[in-house]
């Protein structure tokens, strides 16, 4: 018996899987690029969800890991290394070490201080990227080409789309098992009552740090894909607003649900796209919205927080739980 949330999840993922065919059929190649972005941010938001939704650690600095992934691709490609496997090793290596150190320091604090210190670390890396003049500094750096993974040709945008899709499915599958495992139980236990978990004898710090590192590495992967999609890297990938948008996506979809971040990423990015190219046939009004759509996004975020606390997909899950209870 398929429940409503499960049905929505299957339909969503299947729809995303068929999208390039639809785009081909309707002759809308731009859709592939747009939805590759959606998949990449869905991947990053899913990564963030592991700490934010399942671990209740409000990280306001996860854009930093998107930046690390993107710069690993960009910097290596700048030096002539366009072998994707080496780039992957470098990105995960650097990202893992940074996440381990930053996580170990940040997890000493909690609550408000945790939010701010994660933000500060992300800013630190942002300014580091801005001052790297050899790699474009503030202006960013154009890539010579996309990464080469053996015979997989990423210059084909449909191939890149399906790589992002496969990665997203793999991460969602991994997280589905991870959350139900002993590790996930301890993590969710810390979300409810960290002190009790510590009293029960769990080394909560180690569990939370592991979750932080895993979630960071997922964002690193998203960053690598983003650099390949745009053929461009820039410090703006790790601007603090990107960290904020990742949180918005996660909350909009539904915190601590597996599919929520995917729903949220699609919802926010498609809304942005719709607002910035809105055509209602009223020239004055259209121009106003197309230019100042960020104001509407801002109000939308406020409304989501005030009214739709569980998120879109979270609302479905909660309704289902109520019905079966």
């Amino acid at each position: 018996m398929a429940s409503a949330p499960r049905l929505v999840a299957v339909l969503l993922l299947a729809g995303l899987g068929l999208l390039p065919l639809l785009a081909e059929w309707l002759n809308e190649p731009f859709w592939v690029t747009l939805f590759t972005r959606v998949l990449i941010f869905a991947l990053a938001a899913s990564g963030l969800n592991l700490v934010l939704g399942f671990g209740a650690m409000v990280s306001f600095g996860h854009a930093m890991y998107i930046g690390i992934g993107a710069y690993a691709v960009g910097v290596l490609s700048f030096h002539g290394v366009d072998n994707g496997w080496w780039q992957l090793v470098a990105a995960l290596g650097v990202g893992g070490v940074v996440a381990l150190v930053v996580g170990a320091i940040c997890l000493r604090t909690s609550g408000m201080a945790f939010i701010m210190i994660t933000l500060a670390f992300a800013q630190m890396l942002f300014f580091l990227a801005v001052s790297l003049r050899d790699y474009g500094g503030d202006d960013g750096l154009r890539l010579n080409g996309r990464s080469h993974f053996g015979s997989l040709d990423l210059e084909n945008s449909v191939a890149l789309y399906y790589l992002a899709y496969a990665l997203l499915l793999a991460v969602l599958g991994l997280f589905a098992r991870l959350v139900q495992s002993r590790f996930g139980m301890v993590l969710r236990g810390c979300r409810s009552n960290a002190r009790r978990m510590a009293s029960l004898g769990f080394a909560t710090f180690r569990y939370r740090l592991s979750a932080y590192v895993i979630s960071a590495l997922v964002c690193v992967l998203a960053g690598m894909l983003l650099a390949n999609l745009a053929r461009f890297i820039s410090p703006s990938y790790m601007a603090w607003t990107v960290s904020g948008e990742l949180i918005v996506m996660t909350v909009l979809g539904g915190l601590g649900t597996l599919i929520g971040p995917v729903v949220g990423a699609a919802g926010l990015l498609l809304l942005e796209e719709a607002l910035s190219s809105l055509k209602l046939g009223l020239p004055w009004f259209d121009a106003l919205i197309n230019q100042h759509w960020l104001a509407l996004i801002g109000l939308f975020i406020v409304l989501v927080v005030l009214v739709l606390k569980q998120g879109l997909y979270g609302w479905l899950v909660a309704r289902e739980a109520q019905r079966s209870a």
Binding site: L52, V58, F60, I105, R108, T109, G111, M112, A113, I115, M116, I117, L119, A120, F121, Q123, M124, F127, L128, V130, S131, L132, R133, D134, W240, T241, G244, I247, V248, V251, L288, H292, L294, A295, I297, G298, L299, F300, I301, V302, V304, V305, L306, K309
Partner: protein
Amino acid sequence: MTTGLFLTQLLNGLQLGVLLFLLSAGLTLVFGIMDVVNLAHGSLYMMGAYFAAAAFNAFDGSFLAAALVAIPGTLLLGLLIERLVLRTLYRRDHLDQVLATFGLILFFNEVVRYVWGPASVYMNTPKWLSGTVDLFGLPYPSYRFAIIAVGLAVGAALYAVIHRTRVGMLIRAGATNPQMVSALGVNINGLNTLVFALGAALAGLAGLMAGPIVSVQSGMGEPILILTLVVIVTGGIGSIRGAFYGALIVGIVDTIGRAFLPGLLRELLDRSVAQAVGPAIASMLIYLLMAAVLALKPQGLFPVKHG
């Protein structure tokens, strides 16, 4: 490196420090009493600067008019935000507060872009402060000196209000245990509103004072908001004393680091290496400082003592 140059940079650091103090005092009080994080504090600063610049240019260069518009204007805007958005979020967790105020930042950035256009707005220093003052033989711009004086005066006034008056006593009590203060018959909501208004007015004052020395533009609130957060976390959340010392430390370390670190590195390292890493390390310095403080004292340098 001459002593005069060093002293000038030290004063510049002090001037950035007192600006940061004006912002962090409000933010840390709001956090201490209401347990609310308000990222839109940076937007209040930005609106203060825009109000000031608009009034300054409309009343042909009257700084008094700028002050009379900017500070009450920001105060009213702050009250509006508190009533419409934050009040419903007091009992929610920090995540919701961060998100809602993040949305407000995006909103206000676009509002000023719509009203005042995408280009930055300029505001001159008032004529009577456009010269220099002589500090022990060192010429220093009067306006920057005035910022330092105003900041220190506000600091002293805040200290007096918080430690010597009845309202200040209630604020301190509210920061320690709001339920108890409420149970003793104090209107805690009124107190919240008062503190929020005070914080907004201080943010407006900071925007007014910064108006002539920075370019007033959309998004100007964010860099300084993040510095303010660094100050609050370094100094200890909720503590005015921590905000004061934290602001001065961050202001001075940042300014001195940017001014002298690249040169210092050039002495120690290879020229090309120093050129590449000097500015990077200089701009990361305060974040390294904050990380070091939190790694050693997670509660910050001057934590509020409870109980």
